[in-house]
Subunit: 271 residues, 2 copies
């Protein structure tokens, strides 16, 4: 062991983003990134061959609320300098998913062996940042209190298609009292790079959700009689579009195992 | 008639704010100011003896959402230079209400004969400005389309008392679809000087409103099945507190007969 190397420490909320990435790179961290380096932006990952990257880029551009792009790599380059120091996108997430012809074929801890010169990495904003901002303003989020995944639903809101990418918008739902819902609109409007303002609130049926107690992804949470369900566009939308497109080859993060970037949350606030 | 004086013209949407005030001053305009000099901020008026002015000022300061102060005069001075050129608050509104011991005793066209050296004028922001901003963003307002007064309700939200001034918050209600309601939160958040963001949306019973079809002030409007009722703090709140306080003497504007200021609406946008 080099005398220059810091003694290894299990990453926690106070870790630097780079320490979390290095722990993932070394194989010491193989699980969720939720709560790690908690002052920093985390992102969803999609890696595609160049042949589909242009369509996917157009899809994200046309659907910025569910698919807010934080960074896109050069083809073949595993670095993402706009998101962090010495990122190696092939190893710096704790776990990946490998898709062939639309089927999940593997969940490796790194994808170095699969790397190709034509691969383009897309990092997409996730709701952790706006949840951080909501909680910092004193708004309690039930799924966080109850230590569950947020509830997510396929809606009848269509995304704008681009090439092979299309499908319904997936929305996350957080139950809030009206005053908190109004405040949450204000707070999340400041963060367009992580889904921005809600897309709906109130009656779930108006966006095609029949059973609020049965989310399509994540865990159900109760909506109290004095609360409104508030719906935000969700980063699962591009993942669902990707699955639907049944591409010959794609790599994504595994659920909850995100890229932890060097960006502090407040860097994404637009005012 | 002086050759310097412009020929008199009935004020309309394109008039200058000063022309509207001069028409009121001359007695030619005795009715509503709604839609006149429509690019300009209008305000509610309360005139009180100095003996109650300090409490009323504290009441407004403690309740900025229902009582946003646009301007306060020096005692005895009928001018409000922060709100417009050569305003004479005693004559520049089309109609006034005079209150003695809490009772409405007169509705004169000017109050020059009642003026005293101890009177302080308060001009309070009104929703015309945020309605202008909402409509400019393409959000249709049903009461405007139907040419009715906005529906207003006494709620169970208590204002912060100050001296003799206290009472429930009065809210105006506009029915909006969820996407417009979210947009309306964003737009009206920019205008804290004219009530700002909504105070409630969704279930009226949660703020003590039992019958949405029966407003306490103004006219009822329908709330469609795909709409939420959205509630804003309303300038009728201080008027109700004033009536409750049963002061020996007070002057207010008559309903709909507001002070038209020189301020363009956009001057009140805080970002």
């Amino acid at each position: 062991m080099s005398t220059l190397q810091a003694p290894f420490r299990t990453p926690d909320a106070a870790s630097s983003a780079r320490d979390v990435r290095l722990a993932a790179r070394s194989g010491a961290l193989q699980s969720h990134t939720s709560g790690l380096a908690s002052a920093h932006v985390q992102g969803n990952l999609v890696i595609l061959p160049k042949s589909h990257a242009a369509d996917f880029l157009r899809y994200c551009q046309a659907n910025p609320k569910p698919c807010p792009l934080l960074g896109v790599s050069e083809p073949g380059d595993p670095a993402l300098p706009m998101l962090g120091e010495d990122i190696d996108i092939r190893s710096d997430l704790p776990r990946y998913r490998v898709w062939r012809d639309g089927e999940l074929v593997d969940e490796p801890g790194d994808v170095r062996a699969l790397w190709r010169e034509d691969l383009v990495s897309f990092v997409i904003g996730c709701s952790f940042t706006f949840e951080h901002a909501l909680m910092a303003e004193g708004i309690a989020l039930r799924h966080v209190v109850q230590q569950r995944n947020v509830a997510m639903y396929r809606t009848n809101i269509a995304t704008v298609p681009a090439g092979v990418f299309r499908g319904p918008m997936v929305c996350s739902m957080r139950p809030l009292r009206a005053t908190d819902a109004i405040r949450a609109v204000q707070i999340t409007s400041r963060f367009p790079a992580v889904h921005g303002a809600p897309v709906h609130l109130g009656d779930p049926a108006l966006i095609g959700i029949r059973a609020i107690a049965h989310p399509d992804y994540g865990d159900p949470v109760d909506v109290m009689p004095d609360e409104l369900p508030v719906f935000w566009a969700c980063g699962v939308t591009p993942q669902a579009a990707l699955a639907e497109a049944r591409l010959p080859f794609a790599i994504t993060h595994a659920p909850g195992a995100m890229l932890v970037t060097d960006l502090p949350h407040h860097r994404l606030a637009c005012f």
